[in-house]
Amino acid sequence: MCDAKARPDMRPVYPKAGSYPDFADLVDDSRAQVDRRVFIDRAIYEAELRQIFGRAWLFLAHESQIPNPGDFVRTYMGEDDVIVVRQRNGRIGAYLNSCPHRGNRVCMVDSGKKARGFICNYHGWSFGIDGRLNGTDGKVYDKDPGFEKSAIGLTPVAQVASYKGLVFGTFDPEAPSLEDYFGPFTWYLDVMLDNDEGGTEFIGGCVKSTVECNWKFPAENFVGDILHAFWTHQSGAEAILGGAVDLGSRYDERAFQASVYGHGIETNLDKVGNTRTLGFPELNDYVLGRYEAVKARLGEVRARMVGAVSSCTVFPNFSFLPGQATFRVWHPKGPDRIDLYTWTLVNKNMPERIKELYRKGTMITFSPGGVFEMDDGENWEYCTKANQGWVTRHQKLHYGLGQDSAWSESDLPGHIHRGSLNDANQRQFYKRWAEFMRFDSWGDLQRAETAPPAKPLPQAAE
């Protein structure tokens, strides 16, 4: 019954986007409201895996984690298990961690060094670090005329690219380049990634934890919710600084929110506001001591952002706090669960002692035992869980702070809003979310409302 000449077609399949106008309508920008169902509904979550995690550029690794050929780390893109591995030619590849035979994971570990390949535990198929099928156990397939080894391998992530040390991947062969995906937001990313000529690295290892929340709550928190710091983080600020987090009016003139394609940063220009919360005066001195050098490199605005009260999300789920040097990914695990991966990013040229203080500072502030993070997870979990109520889920959520704060004359890149105490970036984040739901083509996506207003990039060192 089976045609003897038929071969299984093992070419990679990258599902196409569709469009979900009904879901897109759940974000009502004119009323600054978001429907609570986007945080709990399974069908919406499945649409996110397809529309957002199946298309967007997603954070994979820092190049410093995999310096040599065969070095690899395992991570996720959406719920897809992925191996990120340095190739013999020095480039970085990424592959689905799933055997094309019966689907078993071919890599069970978090990371490894100088691997020659990956062997599946089930029937012993072995793959090169380039994903190609190298061999099978025994001679069974050698004698099987229907078997075509060269056509079988680990499915490659469609595009992989680096930006100043950070490696991203997308499952969409049609996605624009990583630089186009960022647009002028790179101007802000450079505050962390390019404030020193030597570049950056991750301190070894990764702290991982689980939070029973929808992935968008932490993402929106980092994209623009500095407002919560005063209340949520009172206890942590009291412990480290001996007083509440100072978000007061004396900083408001020096604060703004910037957003491009849903990527957003809210920041102050107070130089070391967040670095101070790490609790090591030596670190404040270090950051202040580098001020002139950073100013010469990046200009005054960005030099003031390096250690400042600030936070950032790269759409959809990669976030960091410049001043605390904590970098994290919120991996979705269903509508009501994430796995949180946390790293510390430092400049390669920093003295070892300073790197060590950043490492310890991450632990005491933003890691599961940290005096700040401890109180965040609790909020995000109950934001998610409370929405399960049938009547509750039909109430809208309020994103209306600072609707008149747009600062269109600003020559900073992106959509700029005055003051960081407003919901501007969160509105942009959900607008981008809705654009990903509504549009199936990148042409529409890149021309949509969250696209950056046209203006020239400010000179690096003005």
Binding site: M108, D110, G205, G279, R359, I364, G369, E373, D375
Partner: protein
């Protein structure tokens, strides 16, 4: 001082009387932590303490790095001053993840103590089960092993070093609002 791997064969267990004192020390410590009596808990610690809980990686048996690496990402890598900062947070009524209060249970077991060769310094091993429950039914359970260095000074025992090795790769809870 660094907690080092001890050769398994030539360990010399401490005498029964000292072991009994060490057990009492641990049970009392667990009771203080259950009660969130953190200021009292701090008095059990040597001011030169290293309190360290490395993040656990899943790696191949052949990987020479082992499941954790000194100097890499950890849940805790604290000196005494950092532990005092954490305690200061617990003392705030605005420590929301602890207000309403968390219900704690620390079970300590498998207690062993061996000589280090240095007078007044004993190495001790123990296992723990840590249960935290709060609000209606939020429950986190963590199991692990502690490797300690204890300082003996007359009647007094203090904790000079603690390494906490949990069995979880991804921490199956949102936070660690406790000590181990």
């Amino acid at each position: 001082m660094t907690v080092q791997t001890v050769p398994m064969l030539d360990e010399t267990p401490v005498g029964d009387a000292l072991l009994r004192r060490i057990e009492r020390f641990y049970y009392r410590e667990a009771r203080l932590l259950d009660r969130e009596a953190y200021a009292d808990w701090l008095t059990l610690l040597d001011p030169g303490i290293r309190y360290w809980m490395p993040a656990m990686e899943t790696r191949k048996r052949g990987d020479q790095r082992g499941p954790w690496t000194d100097g890499e990402m950890s849940y805790f890598d604290d000196d005494f001053a950092m532990l005092k900062v954490r305690v200061a947070r617990y003392e705030q009524p605005s420590a929301w993840a602890d207000n309403p209060a968390t219900r704690h249970l620390h079970i300590v077991t498998n207690i062993e103590a061996i000589e280090t060769g240095t007078p007044g310094l004993v190495r001790a091993f123990s296992c723990f089960e840590n249960v935290r429950n709060r609000n209606e039914k939020d429950q986190d359970v963590i199991h692990g092993r502690r490797e300690d260095l204890l300082k003996l000074d007359g009647d007094r025992i203090t904790l000079a070093e603690r390494r906490i090795l949990i069995v979880q790769n991804i921490l199956l809870s949102k936070n660690l609002n406790t000590f181990f």
